[in-house]
């Protein structure tokens, strides 16, 4: 079982220091655990990291997260990493390629895994939280997150590419000693980095916008928006206080409330008289 983890040059959301994106650290955890489940015959078959970009130092943290070896394809700033990555992955032919659901440092649109899957003609399973060997040899069982702990379990015959969802197990701790022992292999660019489809954008500092209030219609007046914010939909307006009610009555009120907001299923499947 050969596993590659795609790495991107992340930035810490607060401090802006170069860090390994959390999703990729989670991907490494999945990869190392899966690698251990299959047993690692030798160092070359152990999970490895792959990064295409100007600087390998940006992803060196991945060594401390549990990868023994990183491959770095030197690319100029802004070049499309897909052809180079596709060429290298075609050459190494890993059985499983893991990536974060959205890499950082490039276009940050999360398109690279999809472009790679198309270039390598492999199925892509998005937003996985767990990967395990399937019952049949050569198959993998992947759990996709559907949000709120619901899963879609997909069985697929490898090789396959998967992206990792934030609900996957939290990253392992960075170990300085492991990072010290790991190696970074520099590879020259193997394919001409042509420009991928890019949208010309204009950048400016981020401005936080108010979240849309549920139920407030578009183009409504300020009064309507205020009503939506404080009116029917907000918890404040529905604030009900029952002081010393009969426990039975309290129970009825609670159940009615829970059903109204939809967290408890209605009592009967057939319609009320």
């Amino acid at each position: 079982m050969k596993i590659a983890v795609l790495l991107s040059a992340g930035r810490h959301p607060v401090s802006s220091t170069a860090v390994l994106p959390r999703l990729e650290a989670q991907a490494i955890r999945i990869a190392t655990r899966l690698g251990a489940a299959f047993g690692v015959p030798d160092e070359a078959a152990a999970p490895f990291g792959l990064h295409a970009g100007p600087d390998a130092a940006a992803v060196a943290d991945a060594l401390g997260q549990g990868l023994g070896r990183l491959e770095h394809i030197a690319l100029s700033e802004g070049a499309d990493p897909v052809p180079a990555l596709a060429a290298r992955l075609a050459a190494t032919a890993p059985d499983l390629i893991l990536a974060g659901r959205r890499g950082q440092g490039g276009g940050e649109s999360g398109i690279v895994p999809y472009a790679l899957a198309a270039a390598l003609d492999r199925p892509l399973i998005a937003d996985v939280v767990a990967v395990a060997p399937g019952d049949e040899a050569g198959t993998l069982r992947l759990d996709q997150s559907l949000g709120r702990g619901a899963l879609r379990r997909v069985v697929v015959r490898g090789p396959v590419l998967a992206t990792v969802h934030p609900d996957a197990p939290a990253p392992l701790a960075y170990a300085f000693g492991r990072a010290r022992r790991g190696t970074i292999v520099s590879l020259g660019p193997t394919a001409d980095p042509g420009a991928g489809p890019v949208i010309p954008v204009e950048e400016r500092p981020y401005r936080r916008r108010p979240k849309v209030v549920k139920g407030a219609p578009a183009g409504g007046s300020a009064a309507e928006r205020l009503k939506a914010a404080t009116g029917e939909s907000g918890a404040a307006s529905r604030g009900r206080l029952l002081v010393d009610p009969d426990p039975e009555e309290a129970a009825r009120e609670i159940l009615a409330y829970l059903r109204r907001i939809g967290v408890v299923a209605p009592p009967a499947s057939h319609p009320h008289p």
């Binding site: 198309a118 998005a126 002081v243 426990p247 159940l255 829970l258 408890v264 009592p267």
Partner: protein, 413 residues
């Protein structure tokens, strides 16, 4: 909506007491129209909490509007609901100048809240001349009121997203819309990227602003935002763009040329719903939590199971070893993202309230009227949780019994 002009003279005449020579007026009579006069004394009486020997008053503001009417201890705020408006006319765009396509998630054949927001965004882009077309794999209800002029219903290609992408891409190739919008949800985002790669077109993802002048999305960990003219493909972030507010549209059904979906490469797919009993607390949708006010945790566990909720607990219970540590809610435990938090016997320490800051609805049962949790709750019940739990269990059991017997359950509300 012009209000009737008040005539103070006439009003006074109306309340004049007939007897006596000196003019006397009955000020207690309720005026025929206009706003009711406040009566602080009655309000105060209404705020009085029954039962206590010492007079205690509930001063929370929600009580005020009801204090006038009756002396029931149960006080509820019920705003006058707006009268149902007459069904407005359906807007028809007969010959749209261009199309804006929306590919909704439409889980279970219905538009999600996020889908409706994307339709609102599409409506903005389409303007007066353009038409919004919903392209759904499988049936989808309610497209017209949400702003769709046209509706393409494709055959459901099954659970494989690759097949779904192929089917939808073929339809889009036939429709040739100017823009295609997707929700940036788990499935929608996945589909958008698959289609972008198939079409070889760049994707503008996670737009937080959608306008004909340009789309805006956050980038580099929300340190910068990027603006671009609306392109071919875009995904729209959740809760960033409002729903369509105008008159409903016709959602006329279109048929397009379809291509057969490629064979799925997935050997099997299986949906595993979240088990509320075991789902991680941070992901749970409905958390029922126990606090220091509970002594009978077995009943609590029965309530949790009966409500199909995820169990939580305050720190005190976890410290005492009565509940496992991983159930602890709060700043030092788990910070919740639940839709509803049902707090039984929890007074609500600041650290605990930090843990439920993200919960949309809170139901609290506590004996202390002045507990922070009561203040935070959408439904607050000042009563011993120890007494409410069995009542709740009885009620649920009764309903289940009625259901089994074939009788419809009584309307609980």
């Amino acid at each position: 909506m012009t209000r009737l002009r008040r005539d103070p003279r006439a009003e006074r005449t109306a309340i004049r007491v007939a007897a006596g020579t000196r003019p006397r007026y009955d000020r207690t009579a309720k005026p025929a129209g206009g706003r009711p006069r406040r009566d602080p004394r009655a309000e105060r009486a209404g705020q009085r909490v029954p039962g206590a020997s010492r007079p205690r008053f509930d001063l929370s503001p929600i009580i005020l509007s009801q204090a006038l009417h009756g002396d029931r201890p149960v006080v509820a705020e019920t705003r006058p609901r707006p009268a149902p408006e007459a069904a407005p006319r359906i807007v028809v765009v007969e010959d749209p100048a261009f199309l804006v396509a929306v590919v909704p998630d439409a889980t279970g054949g219905r538009l999600s809240g996020h889908d409706r927001q994307v339709l609102g965004a599409a409506r903005t882009l389409a303007g007066r001349e353009g038409g919004v077309v919903v392209v759904s794999a499988g049936p989808c209800e309610g497209c017209g009121p949400a702003g769709a002029d046209r509706h393409v219903v494709l055959d459901d290609p099954g659970p494989d997203p690759a097949a779904r992408a192929a089917t939808i891409a073929a339809a889009l190739a036939d429709l040739e819309p100017r823009h295609v919008l997707f929700p940036e949800s788990l499935d929608g985002g996945d589909l958008a990227r698959r289609i972008a790669v198939r079409m070889g077109v760049a994707l503008f993802d996670n737009a937080e602003v959608v306008a004909a002048a340009g789309l805006v999305r956050p980038a580099r960990g929300r340190r910068v935002e990027q603006r671009a003219a609306p392109g071919r493909l875009a995904t729209v972030a959740a809760d960033a763009v409002p729903d369509h507010a105008g008159a409903p549209r016709e959602a006329r059904v279109l048929t397009v040329a379809t291509a057969p979906a490629p064979a799925s490469r997935l050997l099997s797919t299986e949906r595993i719903p979240a088990d509320p009993a075991t789902v991680p607390l941070a992901l749970a949708e409905f958390v029922t939590a126990a606090g220091n006010g509970l002594t009978d945790l077995d009943t609590f566990r029965q309530v949790v199971a009966a409500l199909r909720a995820t169990p939580g607990a305050s720190r005190v219970l976890c410290d005492a070893g009565l509940m496992p540590r991983h159930t602890q809610v709060g700043a030092s435990g788990t910070v919740l993202a639940a839709t509803c938090y049902f707090a039984l016997g929890i007074s609500g320490a600041p650290q605990h309230l930090q843990g439920i800051a993200g919960c949309e609805h809170v139901v609290a049962v506590n004996t202390d009227l002045h507990a922070s949790m009561i203040e935070r709750a959408g439904l607050a019940i000042v009563q011993d949780a120890q007494a409410v739990m069995p009542a709740l269990l009885r009620l649920l059991a009764q309903e289940a019994g009625e259901q089994e017997a074939g009788h419809p359950a009584g309307d609980p509300s």
